[in-house]
Structures are given as C-alpha cells and as structure tokens.
C-alpha cells in the first residue's frame, strides 16, 4: 500500500518520461514559471538542471533556478491534512497544492536549427502551456557540441543527472581571459587541471602555469583520497615531452622524486619598480614607496634594487640624501624589500641562461611550462616571481605581435599563451590591478596573444573591471554573498544563477558560463581517473613497454 501512495505522490517509478511540467507564466526579463507535473516529485527537480521548453516554433534551452511550494487556498496551509490522510494528500498534490519552478531560458534555437557560431540570445518567451521536458542527449550535444564533431570541443563533465558530455569550445575559450573559482576544497585545482589538459591535448594554446602548491606538474594529492591511490597524475606524466617542468626550488622537487627540466633563478637586476609596486599589499608599502623606488631607479637604472639592498644600517639615510629621497620613506622601503634577500632563488648574477629566454624558447616550440615553487610557498615569492616572469614574457609577446601586425606573415604569428595564476585576488585586487602586468593582460584581452586563467577562491577580492572582462567562468561552490556577486559581475540576469551557485554540491560540481559555452550550465565534472588519462593519450605501463619494444624493433630490427 505504501508503494501505491508513493506512486501517487510522484515517486520516480511512475514518472512520465520526459515531460516535467507546463509553462504557466513568465516574462522576458524575469524568466519563465512552470507548474510541475503532479506526478513528478519536487525532490527530483534540482536547481541547475538543464531542461528544454518546447515552444511552438522555438526550443528554449533553460536552467532551473528556483522552486516554490504554492497553495490555492490559505486554509490548506493553516490546517494541513493529517499525517495518515494519504488520500487527501494525494488529491491536493498538484491541484490545490502545487509546485512552481522558475526557469531561466538561456538559449533559443528554432526547431532543428544548429548552433553555427555565435549563439542567439533569447529574444522572446514560449507561449502558455508549452511543454517543459528534460533535456536528452541529443539536446546536450546540439547545444554544447561533441568531441567527436570537432577538436574545438572538450568534454568537461556531464549535466546533472545525465551522462552526455558537456563540452566547452576551446577556440572561444582561449579568445579571452578566463576564471576558475570556488571556495577551498571544492575542486578548483581539479577543474584547472582538466581545462589545462584540454588546452594541451587539443593544442589550442601554450600554457604557462605558476604552480604555487606543486599540483599541476607531477602527481598531486587527491583530496579525501585516503591512503594508497591518493595521488593523481600531473601534466608532465600525462603529456611527457609536451610539458616542461621549471622549478624555483630544485631541492624540493628532487626530494619529491622529480627531476625538473630547468631551475629558475632571478637576478636582482631583473626586478623592475612595477614588480615592487605589485607587492604593495603584501609588503604593506606606503604610497610614497613607489616614488622613492623610482628615484633610486632614476639614478641606478636596472641596478636599482641591488644598489638599494647593498646599503645597510645608517648608510641608508646617507643613500637617501644622495639621491634626494625622503629619508624615512626610503628606509621603510629598504627595510621591507630586505625580505626579498632571503629567497634562495634570488642571485646577484645569473650563471646560465635567463629563465625568461629559456621559457620563451619553449613557448615558441609549443611546449607548456609548469613552474613549481617547491617550498617557496610564501605569497611574496609567488607574487614576485609571477610578476617578473609574466611582465617580461608579455613584453616579448608585445614585440612579437607588433612584428606580426607589421609583416602580416602567418609565420610570425605568435602562439596564443595562457598564463595560469592562483590566488589571483592578490594580483588583481582593485588597488594593484591597474598597475600590475596581470591587470593589463586581463584588460587588453587577446590583442597580444596572451590571456590569463585566473584561479581564485575569493573572487570578491578581484577588481571588478577585470572580473567583467573574464570570458568564461567556471565556478564551483561559493557561499559568501560577496564572492557570488563578484563572480556574477558582468553577467546579465544574474539573479537566477545566484541561487544555482549557492546550491552546488561541494564536490565535483561546477557552474560554467560565459564565452566558451552557449548557455550557462551546471556540470558534474569529469572524473580525473584512468579513463581520463587514456582519453588524454596516456598509456598504461604495459602499453608503454609494448610501444617502446615496437619502436625499438622498428629502428634496430628484431
């Protein structure tokens, strides 16, 4: 008998396939409301679900943004049916008490139309009583493309409760700077690794990854993985020679059993005043510090920092007097910059090649770079190194692009470069975003073939102007209202997405929206496991041995 009542109240085993309700009201600005089919249980309908409204001429691809319990008669709410009164409960369900579901149409396609390039925004709404159905596999691949169709598409996961892959368009993805957000422990690093794998596999851009926590290069910890198989493969393991490992702390890399391809050292003369300004927050520099630094620079040019740090104690005041700077301001600057002296990667003179030249060489050959920080996990080191390297690489890219614009020779065209930075709010906060190189890159978009992949847990800390320029945003769970607001900066009709964002699972779920997807969609992210390694072209140990044997047989004969 209990089964019978469950059936009547919308348990899954009586669901009419597909149809989940009909459109009852709506507006273009506020979205559409649907009355839930009474034999559907409200608990099966989740915010973020991908549904299709079958209009008369168009199909509206929509996302569920909100659910409301309603009753026609307030008396029912005052005197609810008694606990055992299943019959009355069933009778009321769907007639006097009903569920309305708020839908946000995100994309409109004529019946049978395919997305060619630019998706069409929604310009009208479906008529009364249009059927709302669950999206099926065909709909998903029609909207998001499929890896089989084209190498533009990269499978990022599946929609909620479905098994069809949702793909992002990598061509469009690398056209802008992008962001990956989510609070700690929601799988940002996994998402980032997934996206990077896509970019590397489909050769859409060269990546430079500032890997603060040593997560991308060579095996990384799996969160909550327990013992045993708690490590996952890094990019170097998956893509071998296509990825070069640079390390700021070679000793730490070796301790972890990794042989970096290059060690990175930075000479004092490579640090420009702009690099120090970018550290304003981290070093708590006064506003006058920049002026003092420029005074030193005016006198000593490239040697300014070496010169400044070489004086000590009371000589600093004398030094200030010599160059005409304010004594207390300069000694404060001196005192604070002294911290840089402690970094083991800082050297007076470079012995080997300049790290930036080596990196550019790799980038020109299309080899991706992961820069590991080893034990140098202080924010100061990260900010400093990322700034210096990016600024100089960007300079080179500007030169290359100018050259290409002048010659218009396709051979001169630089390879698109994507720079991945973590803790992005430290680089792009409103105070420094206008001055640091990352702010520039984020704002100038792809003019010089360099874009950013911003990874951050605190998007509210990022300058609004930068946030609104990010093309595609992939967002795991965020709770803080300010962060949610920040991520949705520059998104029209953000209200619906807000509730979706706050109701994501804390693991393996993300909202993807922006330039690289035709419509916002909540996905269950792809598993980062053996199957994924295989899809990325990685071979198991046996296969690798076999392949090597075959190759050696081909060269040397049996």
């Amino acid at each position: 008998m209990n089964d019978l009542w469950n059936n009547l109240n919308g348990s899954p085993n009586i669901q009419t396939i597909g149809e989940i309700g009909v459109v009852t009201r709506g507006s273009l600005t506020e979205g559409v409301e649907m009355k839930l089919n009474p034999n559907r249980s409200v608990e099966d309908v989740k915010a973020g679900k991908f549904v299709v409204i079958e209009g008369y001429k168009n199909q509206f691809f929509s996302m569920i943004t909100d659910l409301t319990l309603d009753a026609t008669n307030p008396d029912i709410l005052l005197y609810p049916p008694r606990d055992g009164d299943q019959l009355l409960h069933s009778v009321l369900n769907g007639s006097s008490t009903y569920v309305t579901v708020a839908l946000r149409p995100m994309l409109m396609l004529e019946q049978g139309e395919e997305i060619v390039d630019e998706p069409r925004p929604v310009k009208t709404i479906p008529s009364h009583f249009s059927k709302v159905v669950e999206a099926d596999e065909e709909d998903v691949s029609r909207v998001f493309g499929s890896e089989d169709k084209d190498d533009r598409f990269f499978n990022l996961g599946t929609p909620l409760d479905m098994d069809t892959p949702v793909c992002i368009n990598l061509n469009r993805f690398v056209e802008r700077s992008n962001g990956i957000f989510g609070k700690t422990g929601t799988g940002k690093s996994f998402l980032t690794r997934l996206v990077l794998c896509g970019l590397i596999k489909n050769e859409k851009a060269v990546n430079l990854i500032f890997d603060m926590h040593n997560e991308y290069g060579f095996r990384a910890m799996k969160e909550g993985g327990g013992q045993g198989s708690s490590f996952v493969k890094g990019l170097k393991q998956l893509f071998g020679n296509q990825v070069a490992l640079f390390s700021l702390d070679p000793e730490s890399s070796r301790q972890r059993g990794i042989q970096p391809d290059h060690e990175v050292y930075i000479a004092y003369d490579q640090i420009a005043v702009e690099d120090v300004i970018a550290l304003q927050d981290e070093l708590q520099l006064n506003p006058t510090a920049a002026e003092s630094a420029y005074l030193v620079y005016a006198m000593y040019k490239n040697r300014w920092l070496r010169q400044l740090l070489s004086v000590d104690g009371p000589d600093v005041e004398q030094f200030a007097e010599d160059i005409g700077a304010n004594k207390s301001s300069l000694s404060a600057l001196h005192r604070k910059l002294k911290r840089i002296d402690n970094f083991p990667f800082m050297v007076n003179r470079l012995d080997g090649a300049d790290a930036v030249d080596t990196m550019m060489d790799y980038i020109d050959r299309g080899i991706h770079i992961v820069l590991e920080f080893g034990r140098q996990t202080s924010m100061l080191a990260y900010l400093l190194v990322a700034n210096i390297l990016s600024r100089r690489i960007h300079e080179q890219y500007v030169t290359k692009s100018e050259k290409f614009y002048a010659s218009q020779n396709p051979e001169d065209q630089p390879r698109p470069l994507v720079i991945t930075i973590e803790e992005a709010h430290k680089f792009l906060n409103p105070a420094t975003a206008k001055q640091t190189i990352f702010g520039t890159i984020a704002r100038e978009m792809r003019k010089y073939y360099v874009s950013l992949l911003v990874v951050d847990q605190r998007p509210s800390g990022i300058d609004e102007e930068v946030l609104s320029q990010l093309g595609t945003k992939i967002t795991a769970l965020l709770n803080d209202e300010k962060d949610i607001q920040g991520v949705l900066t520059g998104v029209s009709n953000a209200n619906g997405l807000r509730s979706v964002l706050a109701s994501l699972d804390s693991k393996q779920q993300a909202l993807v929206f922006g330039h690289a997807v035709p419509m916002p969609v909540v996905i269950k992210t792809r598993n980062y496991d053996e199957a994924f390694y295989k899809a990325m072209g990685d071979l198991s140990d046996e296969e690798r041995t076999e392949k090597a044997a075959a190759a050696s047989a081909a060269i040397f004969g049996d």
Partner: protein, 199 residues
C-alpha cells in the same frame, strides 16, 4: 451490453414522471428501489442515464398516509397483508447523460425518457464510461438548484464508480482532483467528502 441484450424482466422500476433533467420511477417492488447514489438507465429510442438521489415509500393514494400499527413487519405481513398493497416505493434520479451509437455521453438527452419506460441498473462498463471524468460531479453540483443532497450524492456515486474500478486508488485521486476544482478549492468540504468516500 447493448439494449437488445437486456433481459426486460430484470427491470427495477417504471417511469411515472419525466423531465429533461430528472425522472421519477415507481419501484417494481415495495422497498426495492435501487440504492441512493446508484447509476440507473431507462430504455427508449435513446437510453438515458441517471443517478438515484431520492427514494421514498408512501401510500398509493395521494391523500392518505400509512398508519402506525405497533407491529413488526413480519407480524404485519401475517395479520394485515393487504396494507402492503396500498403502499408503493418511488425513486428519483437526476439525469447525467444519455447513450447514442458511440456509447454513453455525459450530456442531457435531447428528449426526456418516456413515461412507463422501464428502468434498469447500469452495468459496470456503463458506470465506468459515465464516470471516466469528473463531469458527472458537475451535474450533481450544478443541476436542479439546491434540491439534491449534493455532498452525500457525490460520496455515494463516487463510491459506486470507485467500486466499479475495483477500488483503484489512482482513479479516486483523479476524481478528488476534479472535485477540488469544481468546489473551488473549498478545503473543508473536500476533506470531509474524501474522508467519507474512503471510509
């Protein structure tokens, strides 16, 4: 079951008064009227379907009333058998549809059933056809002014319709939903009716 297949000797009443919306029949046997809320039909050019809403037994003489004797029915039948000949049972039915070549229609008939037509109980399949939607409830609620004991008639007729479907719960829920709309979300009334139907 077609009309031709009906055994005419199984009639339960004969129409003595007829109109478009209801008819009155005299029961074939004293106290032998069909139960309140049961579905009946008449024979004629077009069969007419009705729902019994009132049963009464009284003297055959309009101006005379039966008198109390202080005896049980058994004793009365032995001592005064003639008085039962002076009584008759009548039942009234509200018309809820008629039949044409497509089967029962939930619409009032073009002509009222003929006087002296025989009345038969409806078969199970006819009850199902007449009650497949909540439209018959509308005849009860909207027809005949306030003469019908609407709530009780709904309860009795829905129970019959439900029984014809072997007490199928989804059917009862569907009818409940129709009723809910018909009585304009009168929650108290709905809950009272549904409770009594399912008792």
């Amino acid at each position: 079951m077609s009309l031709a297949q009906l055994d005419l000797s199984e009639f339960i009443g004969e129409i003595v008064e007829s109109s478009t919306s209801q008819f009155t029949s005299e029961s074939r046997e004293l106290n032998g009227a069909p139960p309140f809320g049961s579905f009946v039909k008449t024979l004629g050019a077009l069969p007419v379907y009705g729902l019994v809403f009132n049963v009464c037994t009284h003297s055959i003489e309009p101006n005379r009333r039966a008198t109390a004797y202080g005896l049980t029915e058994q004793q009365l039948r032995e001592e005064q058998p003639q008085i039962f000949e002076l009584l008759k049972t009548e039942f009234e039915a509200v018309i809820i549809g008629y039949g044409d070549d497509k089967g029962p229609q939930q619409v009032l008939p073009p002509q009222p059933p003929g006087i002296h037509s025989f009345v038969f109980p409806c078969s199970e399949s006819e009850i199902k056809a007449l009650t497949n939607s909540g439209d018959f409830l509308r005849s009860i609620l909207c027809g005949n002014g306030n003469r019908l004991p609407a709530d009780d008639l709904i309860i009795a007729s829905v129970r019959n319709a439900w029984a014809a479907r072997a007490f199928d719960m989804p059917y009862l829920v569907g009818i409940g939903k129709d009723l809910c709309r018909l009585i304009r979300d009168d929650y108290d009334r709905l809950s009272s009716i549904m409770r009594r139907v399912s008792q």
